[in-house]
Symmetry: C2
Subunit: 247 residues, 2 copies
DNA sequence: TCAAAAGTGTTATTGGTACACCCATGT
DNA sequence: ACATGGGTGTACCAATAACACTTTTGA
């Protein structure tokens, strides 16, 4: 366990010194999911550091920005083939803090020279995705790192400007809810209207009348009605649906 | 004139070698205006270079990304206090081209070592703004550079991925037309409903019925009705309006 | 036969579109 | 008085919201 931890940190140190990254540029992912009928965001925390932060990373020199975001998401969640969208780039000079950056590295027993680019100014591209948290097989990536899902109005202390990033990310998800939900893996291949409605309600944080919801969704014409689902419950069997266009 | 040109280029060279910029990061501005009842975009061209490009620039190390965009817009158009919004960041590895970059510099008689960061990969944050082209006092900035407004469906050959940037920028402007027009300086302090409608029609590229347009706009409740305008024409005097919230 | 949950229908309201009409204004 | 362009009213249609009723299901 201790050995794992050391080797993890060694690996990270090696990666940050040897691998070629685009300096001053990072990607931060706001990964949302639905849990207990609420929209949650995934945050990471390192042992002995007060602040939580978004799963983020750096962009390799030979890697598209979008690719970098996909890779980072994969590294954090082992989720592949996920619909990920850029929503805003955060570029305030003082958005990161030297002290906090050092604390982060100290918590992992990493040291870098004071003039390392890690301590300079960072511009960060924000990406967002809606995922099924039960399909996230393994995180965190490092032993002294922990991940947790947070309610948007019960966020812990966040590093840097990550609170603002989460806010903008969630606004983006809500504004683009139709495509986001359709492209997410939140629902199984086939699902009932009720399940779909629950997801909408969780993401938007408001309730709809089931009949009006059904009409509205069906009018958008991206659902395909399939066979009925007999799940053994003592009521009329609901139809199953599927998103029309294959992703 | 020749002297001016030389000194301009010298200045640019000096700036690019001495001033501290965030490497690999640029800002490109899509500046739109309305001319002949059509939405136009401002493009720049250097003598002896086939390709046109967006007014862009680099971000200083001690400058917010938003600030950089404002500064660049000011440098190009001498427009100040302009509503400028970020809409997307373009990060493909091959979005710039080494050859074209060299051509650009050659056209200005500038030489940089081959390993200069100017020739490396660039990530560019796209900003957009709607402005009154008649209020743009002076551009271009350099003598061998010319600026011109282009119809969106009659674009010339564009450098790098600037065509895509223009497209995304115009989509953003159209999607956010209400705030964009209200925040722009396209209209004078007081204006008639007809003038407002013309701007909407130019930006969206479609026509509306005046009475329905009026209803819709007034329902949004961001206009304040003022006195009537007697301009001497032989018809009923239209009301003047003003945007409610002061910008 | 009953409760639970789904499907479907009906009406009212709202927002937008099309058309019509009247009003003010300078020539 | 008249053409011009602006203001306002009304009828119509589609989308949405609110409410009601019927159907299916396993216990």
């Amino acid at each position: 366990m201790i050995n794992d931890e050391i080797s993890d940190n060694m690996r990270l140190h090696g990666v940050l010194t040897k691998e070629k990254y685009v300096k001053h540029l990072s990607v931060d992912c706001t990964i949302f999911s639905v849990q207990d009928a609420r929209l949650k965001v995934l945050l990471l925390n390192w042992q002995d550091v007060e602040y939580w932060s978004l799963p983020g990373g750096f962009v390799k020199e030979d890697e598209d920005l979008d690719e970098a975001a996909r890779r980072i998401l994969y590294e954090r969640t082992y989720l592949d083939n996920i619909f990920l969208e850029q929503f805003h780039t955060f570029g305030k000079v003082d958005r990161t803090s030297l002290k906090l950056s050092k604390d982060f590295l100290k918590a992992r027993n990493l040291t870098f020279p004071d003039d390392h680019w890690l301590f300079e100014r960072f511009i960060s591209a924000g990406y967002c995705s809606l995922v099924d948290y039960t399909q996230i097989s393994v995180f965190p990536r490092y032993n002294n790192e922990s991940g947790k899902w947070f309610d948007l109005d019960k966020l812990p202390k966040l590093a840097f400007d990550h609170k603002e990033i989460v806010k903008k990310g969630s606004e983006y998800i809500r504004k683009n809810i139709d495509t986001q939900i359709a492209a997410s893996n939140l629902l199984p291949e086939k699902f009932t209207m009720n399940e779909l409605q629950s997801v909408y309600e969780a993401v938007l944080g408001e309730n709809f009348r089931r009949n009006n919801f059904q009409r509205k969704i069906l009018a958008m014409n991206f659902l395909e009605r399939l066979e009925k689902l007999y799940d053994g419950s003592a009521n009329k069997a609901p139809y199953l649906y599927r998103f029309r266009d294959v992703r």
